[in-house]
């Protein structure tokens, strides 16, 4: 059935983690009977286990629904899900660019959070019609009056007719759908113009190749068309196109302006079909691509090593597979004296990094060790060369450095007013520069700081949460480089540098970090056959030192009646134990020691 454009609504849902976006999406799916009850597992749109568990959306996703409105007409609803995290800001902006409206879900007790606001601004910038809804009104802690005020004060939207809903129970969800019909404008665009389609997501399918999700802005695309991806210039012949349903793809002969759907064209690599790129027709190309495309570059790097060195090949394979669906993930081989063969991986941010690490462990069953996350430092050497360093091992000697710079971010922290002191203390500690503070309402505050990115990647989010009992929310964007007095801190075990433990730190914080690291390592490294000095050094100068004492006795004296079984068992047990150890020189270091220094207590 072909729908007139007036009966199409393209929208997305914006919400903070846990504010109920996925639950609302599920209710909408149910109400539109897009999914049978049988197929309905909670939070259908979040495909990955990880997404379900963490309650966050990692990738955008889209679904086409049919809704019969109270006015008697049927509408096509294209619901485009957006990732809910700052790391994926760009993807969010592209998903929003595919819509005309956005449902803003605000938790009735929590109110507006930093990420919600950031995404709402993105939606407003993209010219979307915002439909605020207040969710979880069935909770005893709900305070709809306060939250309504917040919506009016902070976002500047009228909150008079905000639907008060419970996505969990389904209460008033239908009102939300009616609001979408009446408030979200139908898509515009001209089907007769040359094709312009926005890629807002893609995934790799082993049989079909890359499946791209598009919003057709102008023109039309049909089977057999030769399409061109305007950023890369690559051309492909359309093999299949159609609509996206909750549980299947519906093949169509063509997609036309205003519609949302998928295209396959035997595209081998996801890097050929980047999110944000414009699809046009090769024979009749659009003169200009859609605005807003940019390549996303990783900003956080860390080494990823297999615990078991023989799993190096498996790790490579897993990373390759993950990269099929994640153009933002980069990796290249690196070797560490301490950890052997592994990869230097680049990520969009900390969450992205954690997600990849978790997926490697869960979906690919790999035990991995990761090194401390690093940002990209810009070093101007004395000979005038400028180098970008994402691995402390490659950091030039201090004598060769004329100027060192580090990336800085503009950060917004939203927090109840009671915690302002704690936040300022934390930001001060993290070398933050206070920018601004705004009251969102009488007891909620938006604090703005400029923070070095290397302070953010190092345990900042956990600290933020613990200092505000979980109430703070946080958003940041990288704004550029700033000169900084940086030093490379090396850790020596029994006199040998452990390359995997080296890191770059601001000079003023070096001593404190060095001391904590040495203490932590002392705690984590079991007693050895001999005394092991742990030293933290800057350019050969020791600034902190601890000692792991030697063991004094470890002997099975008696071996009665030729019972050597016991000794063999002991040896087997030791063999198992050694698997959890890394040999550094003659010192055995437990694998978890490498991870433990990623989070040091204050």
């Amino acid at each position: 059935m072909l729908f007139p454009r007036e009966q199409i609504r393209n929208f997305s849902i914006i919400a903070h983690i846990d504010h109920g976006k996925s639950t609302l999406a599920d209710r909408i799916l149910e109400l539109t009977e897009s999914v049978s009850k049988r197929e309905m597992s909670a939070q259908l749109l979040d495909n990955m286990d990880l997404e379900k568990e963490r309650g966050i959306t990692i990738k955008a996703r889209a679904v086409t629904l049919l809704y019969k409105a109270e006015n008697g007409k049927e509408y096509i609803f294209n619901l485009i899900d957006t990732p809910g995290h700052v790391d994926f800001n760009y993807e969010v902006s592209r998903a929003l660019a595919a819509c005309e409206g956005a449902v803003l879900v605000v938790d009735a007790s929590q109110g507006i959070e930093a990420q919600t606001l950031a995404n709402t601004y993105l939606a407003i910038e993209a010219g979307l019609e915002i439909i605020p809804v207040i969710n979880k009104i069935d909770l005893p802690s709900a305070d709809t009056k306060r939250v309504k005020n917040e919506i009016e004060d902070v976002i500047g939207l009228s909150a008079d007719e905000v639907p008060l809903i419970s996505a969990k129970t389904g209460l008033n969800v239908k009102t939300v759908l009616e609001c979408i019909v009446s408030n979200v404008p139908p898509p515009d665009g001209d089907p007769e113009k040359p094709l312009k389609a926005l890629i807002f997501d893609s995934y790799y399918d082993a049989y079909k190749g890359v499946v791209i999700y598009v919003r057709i802005k102008d023109g039309r695309v049909k089977l057999g068309d030769t399409i061109r991806l305007m950023a890369t210039g690559a051309e492909f012949v359309v093999v299949e196109c159609g609509f996206l349903h909750a549980t299947n793809l519906e093949k169509r002969d063509e997609l036309i302006a205003g519609e949302v759907g998928y295209i396959t064209a035997s595209i081998k690599s996801i890097s050929d079909a980047r999110v944000g790129d414009t699809v046009t027709n090769a024979q009749n190309p659009a003169p200009k691509p859609l605005p807003g495309y940019r390549t996303v570059n990783p900003v956080v790097f860390c080494g990823v090593y297999p615990v078991d060195g023989t799993k190096y090949g498996d790790l490579r394979e897993a990373l390759e597979k993950l990269q099929l669906n994640d153009a933002a993930l980069t990796f290249e081989p690196e070797t560490s004296v301490a950890l052997g063969f592994g990869f230097r991986c680049g990520f969009l941010g900390l969450l992205h990094m954690e997600i990849i690490q978790e997926r490697l462990e869960r979906e690919y069953n790999l035990d991995i060790i990761t090194t401390a996350p690093s940002v990209i430092y810009r070093i101007t050497k004395t000979d005038g060369d400028v180098v970008y360093i994402d691995n402390p091992t490659n950091y030039p000697e201090s004598g060769l450095i004329q100027k060192s710079e580090e990336p800085v971010a503009n950060a917004h922290i939203y927090v109840p007013a009671d915690y302002v002191g704690n936040i300022m203390e934390l930001c001060q500690e993290r070398r933050g520069i206070f920018k601004d503070m705004k009251y969102l309402d009488k007891d909620r505050v938006d604090i703005q700081y400029t923070l070095p990115l290397n302070e953010i990647v190092y345990d900042f989010f956990d600290k933020l949460k613990s200092k505000t009992r979980g109430y703070a929310s946080f958003d940041y964007e990288i704004i550029g480089y700033a000169e900084s007095d940086l030093v490379k801190l090396d850790i020596l075990l029994n006199g040998d540098i452990v390359d995997a433990l080296s890191f770059i730190v601001h000079r003023e914080k070096a001593y404190q970090r060095a001391r904590k690291m040495a203490e932590k390592l002392k705690e984590k490294i079991p007693r050895q056959l001999f005394e092991v000095p742990i030293q933290a050094c800057i350019g050969g100068k020791v600034i902190a030192r601890e000692t792991v004492k030697a063991m004094r006795k470890d002997v099975l004296a008696k071996c009665y009646g030729g019972d050597i079984t016991r000794k063999k068992k002991l040896l087997e047990k030791q063999k198992e134990g050694k698997k959890r150890m890394r040999q550094i020189g003659t010192v055995e270091v437990p694998q978890d020691a490498f991870m433990s220094i990623l989070k040091l207590d204050d």
């Binding site: 063991m551 004094r552 099975l556």
Partner: protein, 368 residues
């Protein structure tokens, strides 16, 4: 086939010592003891029918083997002699110091027993009491004297280190006594609190030694004994010239031995196996033998030989395995030489006394 070792496990004790977790029972009757003796003899005969064996060492351990009584001990030794060739055998019997002799040592000596291992542990009455041992220093003296009168010229005494209440001073007293007794061999063990023992249950109440004290006592013992003419030939064993325990050396050299009796271990024709830890099963005559894997591998050999003060030697290694000691072991062992734990030269690897004290970890670091 070359002569091998024979071990007879006698699982009877008058009372259970609170630190001991060896397999033994205190519920003994004449009937059980006789039945046990018969099964041992039958088993020996069965082995004879199955494979051609000869022995050059026989060891009666336990438990308290003397509780079998002269008659049964002689019956077993006669069965051995009648069915197998014994080549210049070292035949050892474990006994405990007692107030009154419970076996006729003279008669046993005449029947072929030629080595006694006496479970002395300490000569300090207070320490003996802690260990639940029912004899005094005087009884120890008498027992040794009787052994000598009976004609035993190869006597070994057990000494325990790290007994609660023990001090370097009291240890020295025990050591001095041992040295003064004109005996040939000393086995000295650090007390280890084993699961399932009374000591384990009470371990928080016992004044147990810490690692530093244990290490100090061990090193003290080694220096005292070696200064007094004992050769320290294995982690826990010391002998006058010519009196190393031939039987125990079979264990450390990864040589063949047959063990009979509940919980007794064997290493025969490349296989390790042991009897179930059940007297009842054994007495019923159908105790199962549990296969315990391949024995005599390079790894196992190194693990065992490194307990000897001679360590591993290239010529012996080559004789046995047809190859030189793999270089990797030399390299690993060398790492610990500068810490005084190993001595490595071109053709051998040895542990030092300090190395012995850390041998579990050290051997695994060399092997793994």
């Amino acid at each position: 086939m070359k002569p091998i070792g024979l071990y007879i496990h006698v699982p009877f004790c008058e009372r259970k010592c609170p630190y001991c977790n060896f397999f033994s029972t205190t519920k003994i009757t004449n009937e059980i003891v006789d039945r046990y003796t018969d099964i041992i003899c039958n088993t020996l005969v069965k082995y004879k029918e199955k494979i051609k064996l000869s022995f050059d060492t026989v060891y009666f351990g336990g438990g308290t083997p003397s509780l079998l009584g002269d008659k049964n001990l002689i019956k077993i030794i006669k069965t051995i002699k009648n069915n197998f060739k014994l080549f210049g055998s070292e035949i050892t019997l474990e006994i405990n110091p007692t107030t009154l002799p419970i076996v006729n040592l003279k008669q046993l000596r005449e029947e072929g027993f030629n080595r006694l291992s006496i479970g002395v542990q300490s000569t300090i009455d207070r320490e003996l009491k802690t260990l639940g041992r029912q004899y005094s220093q005087k009884d120890i003296k008498n027992t040794i004297k009787l052994a000598k009168i009976a004609g035993f010229t190869n006597i070994s005494l057990d000494l325990m280190l790290a007994i609660p209440e023990q001090s370097i001073k009291s240890l020295k007293q025990s050591i001095n006594f041992f040295i003064s007794q004109d005996i040939q061999h000393i086995s000295a063990y650090l007390l280890k609190v084993e699961k399932g023992t009374l000591f384990y249950k009470n371990k928080n109440k016992l004044n147990l030694k810490n690692e530093n004290e244990e290490s100090e006592m061990y090193l003290f013992l080694v220096s005292e004994l070696t200064n007094n003419g004992f050769k320290h030939y294995e982690i826990s064993n010391f002998a006058r010239n010519g009196y190393k325990s031939k039987h125990n050396l079979k264990y450390w050299n990864s040589k063949d031995y047959l063990g009979i009796g509940p919980s007794a271990h064997s290493f025969l024709a490349g296989r390790r196996f042991y009897y179930q830890r059940s007297l009842q099963k054994f007495l019923s005559g159908n105790s199962e033998v549990i296969y315990d894997g391949k024995g005599g591998t390079i790894e196992e050999y190194i693990m065992l030989r490194l307990r000897l003060s001679d360590g591993i030697k290239n010529n012996l290694f080559k004789q046995r395995f047809g190859i030189n000691i793999p270089q990797i072991y030399f390299e690993k062992a060398k790492n610990f030489q500068k810490y005084g734990l190993t001595v490595v030269d071109k053709s051998s690897i040895k542990l030092t006394n300090k190395g012995f004290l850390l041998s579990n970890e050290l051997i695994s670091r060399i092997l793994l």
